[in-house]
């Protein structure tokens, strides 16, 4: 235990949890409202290596929720990945942080040899592709996202999800979260979700659920038997509950990822 590495308050995670978390390489796709929270928490719990990917620079409208961002960042059009890196280094200067200001697809070298993928991206289609990438390289995938929809004039429903998808287990399509109908509707609307409302407290709740799920996966403090997880956040009643959708959707082994979809196609040593 040192000034820089005092994890005594989380020693219940396991006698060697500090070493375990220090060995983890975490890949975070999307450093907006959800991803910035995730990055912050990964630093606090002591993850040793974090790879941060987001193509965007901060805008003024992001400041309502982008953890670690400042007014100066808005003026400087700071890349979101850089803001998250600064945030992490401020907490744990020793954490190895790699960033890419690009689409995550263009930075997939940072994903392939990671140990976990956090999906904090916009849209169902990007989630679909990111989960496919995680399955292709046999990685746990933890997804978060929130949505605000209008119920009637001046009344809104706030909702969100945290999903854990493990290779060999049910995927988000098996669980009934990614449906062809949802994917098609998003595509047919040209991916236009309009101005997508996002708020810090919902994002924070979802990010905390994601990091909690990650810690449960990697440290022995609480033995879980589940091969997947889908927690639903009801932002109106402020409750979190297990989604019942998989009870109706999951049947048998996941059929959506074939053996040939593992690894890099056309891989060659030469």
């Amino acid at each position: 235990m040192t000034l820089e590495r005092d994890f005594s308050r989380q020693s219940f995670l396991g006698a060697e949890s500090e070493l375990v978390l220090g060995d983890v390489r975490a890949f975070v796709a999307g450093l907006g409202g959800g991803g910035s929270h995730v990055a912050q928490q990964l630093a606090h719990v002591g993850v040793g290596e974090v790879r941060l990917v987001d193509p965007q620079a901060i805008e003024a409208s992001n400041l309502n929720r982008l953890v670690g961002a400042t007014q100066m960042d808005v003026k400087a059009h700071a890349p979101k990945a850089n803001i998250a890196r600064r945030l992490i280094r401020g907490v744990r200067p020793w954490v190895k942080v790699e960033t890419a200001q690009s689409d995550w697809q263009a930075a997939d070298d940072l994903l392939k040899d990671a140990h976990v993928v956090f999906g904090c991206v916009d849209g169902y289609r990007q989630r679909m592709y990111l989960e496919r990438a995680a399955r292709r390289f046999c990685l746990p995938y933890i997804d978060i996202g929130m949505d605000v929809s209008e119920l009637g004039e001046g009344h809104y429903a706030v909702a969100g999800q945290m999903i854990v998808s493990l290779p060999g287990g049910p995927c988000m399509r098996c669980m009934g979260f990614l449906t062809q109908d949802r994917l098609n509707r998003e595509e047919n609307a040209y991916g236009d979700a309009g101005i997508n409302p996002q708020v810090v407290w919902t994002n924070g709740t979802l990010a905390s659920l994601a990091v909690g799920a990650f810690v449960q996966l990697f440290t022995p403090w609480f033995k879980l038997d589940r091969t997947y997880e889908w927690l639903e956040l009801d932002g109106n009643s402020q409750t979190v509950s297990r989604s019942r959708q998989p009870d109706y959707s999951v049947s048998g082994p996941c059929p959506h990822f074939a053996s040939g979809d593992l690894g890099q196609p056309d891989f060659s040593l030469n």
């Binding site: 697809q105 592709y129 994917l183 098609n184 595509e187 047919n188 040209y190 959506h256 979809d261």
Partner: protein, 121 residues
């Protein structure tokens, strides 16, 4: 699927892909992922806004969206501002696609390809 005369770069081209192979300087072959069948084209000669380009491309022949029964993807983002464009991840690689509706899947592969390339002229 029967092999036909060898195509570019020594990869055999099946008969229905031969007209596409004529347009390519590299191999042309079928590939499959996630229940979708693609024609993978290396060095496809394309006229983009009057300019000749040679691009790596994927043509999806059975896309599961009634509005987009087929899709064309490129390895580079042509940045044409055509509707929206999607960042896809297929065969562990980034691809870019635009929306071009109603290019029917019941056509031959070359007809499907032509239907999509029309948008780029």
């Amino acid at each position: 699927m029967d092999a036909a005369e060898p195509g570019a770069a020594g990869i055999a081209v099946v008969p229905e892909l031969a007209p596409i192979a004529v347009l390519c300087s590299g191999p042309v072959r079928y590939r499959d992922e996630d229940g979708k069948r693609y024609v993978h084209m290396v060095g496809l000669h394309v006229l983009v806004r009057g300019e000749q380009k040679e691009l790596e491309a994927l043509l999806c022949l059975n896309y599961p969206n009634g509005t987009y029964p087929t899709r064309l993807y490129f390895r580079v983002n042509l940045g044409l501002g055509l509707n929206w464009n999607e960042n896809a991840y297929i065969f562990a690689t980034q691809w870019f696609s635009w929306s071009w509706k109603d290019v029917k899947a019941t056509q031959s592969p070359i007809e499907i390809l032509a239907g999509h390339l029309e948008a780029l002229r």
